[in-house]
Symmetry: C2
Subunit: 192 residues, 2 copies
């Protein structure tokens, strides 16, 4: 079946019938990125939502020469500069391929065509927005409520793929510590 992965991912939000799924194929597009290429950079407008078929991206800010990682996007997951996409404002961040990658995209216009075509797509759009809200809200809370060690352990239990695929300095940035502090945390946890 064409686009099986994206259909499976969407089915985690909402069950839909073949006739709903058939609307999708004419509205989507495949794009490829070489390692190091940018999906979006500051000042650009994000006009689409992507699904990663293959590869890995990271979503980061540069602040006074320091990279602050907001999120990693893995294969079989959706990706967007969602703040820019929703607000029609310029991106403040980078999304960059960390490996050679292949994505399926849908433009804002085409996504809105789907939303307006039936209840099931409207409901799916709502559930995706709610899931995105929970992700960023949990990250916000985690920076307030958890120690760096707690944040590392959360990543370790919930997103083991991140730890296996991403260089240590990026993991340090994601949990908000220096690479040296991350080394100390790992030593405390694993070399007892």
């Amino acid at each position: 079946m064409a686009h099986k992965n994206i259909r499976d991912a969407l089915s985690s939000f909402e069950q839909f019938e073949d006739k709903e799924w058939e609307k999708v194929a004419p509205l989507i597009e495949i794009k490829t990125f070489d390692k190091g290429e940018f999906y979006i950079q500051p000042g650009q407008y994000c006009q689409d939502i992507a699904f990663i078929e293959e590869g890995l991206f990271n979503y980061y800010y540069m602040i006074e020469g320091v990279k602050h990682i907001r999120q990693f996007f893995f294969y079989n997951n959706f990706m967007s500069n969602y703040p820019s996409f929703l607000s029609f404002q310029k991106s403040k961040s980078y999304i960059q391929a960390l490996e050679d990658s292949r994505i399926t995209t849908i433009s804002r216009n085409n996504l809105h065509k789907l939303y307006n075509s039936s209840m099931v797509w409207q409901s799916l759009g709502r559930k995706m927005a709610e899931r995105m809200y929970l992700t960023i809200s949990e990250k916000h809370d985690s920076f307030l409520l958890d120690s760096p060690e707690d944040r590392f352990l959360k990543l370790y239990s919930e997103r083991p793929k991140v730890l296996m695929n991403v260089p240590q300095h990026m993991i340090a940035s994601f949990i908000g510590v220096t690479p040296e502090a991350l080394s100390r945390i790992k030593k405390r946890l694993f070399n007892k």
Copy 2:
């Protein structure tokens, strides 16, 4: 017209006809809170979304005895512990009335009845989730990208009501500085 304020607020997301609006009245409930009373506390489950008819609330965490303010909720705005509401998990935070207040609430079940009753409610639910996402995402970005002075100026231009209605130590907590640092910021900006 009954519930004019809430209808006006919902109309900013989506236009809907009288026949859609008539579904709402049997599904909502009025509640009152005395100053100091809690809408939700840590460990409780948030089961509804509220609209503030009158009054003011703040949404905060207590971390090692220190209050960290995430958000203020003013009259004519929606209010919820949205992370708890969406995830069916216990609240990690407090929402407390800062004045005597009156709210209209809708339970999760009744809200889902509305969503499932027509496209217009599904679409409205999506747009509300998107707006909530943008609010928390902007706060997240602002803590990374802006100086405390920038955050104060943003509040000053976008949410002047906060500055007029809320004690200074709460404003300091909201922008992430000590009350003394907030005094210095205001002195620099206004007493030149």
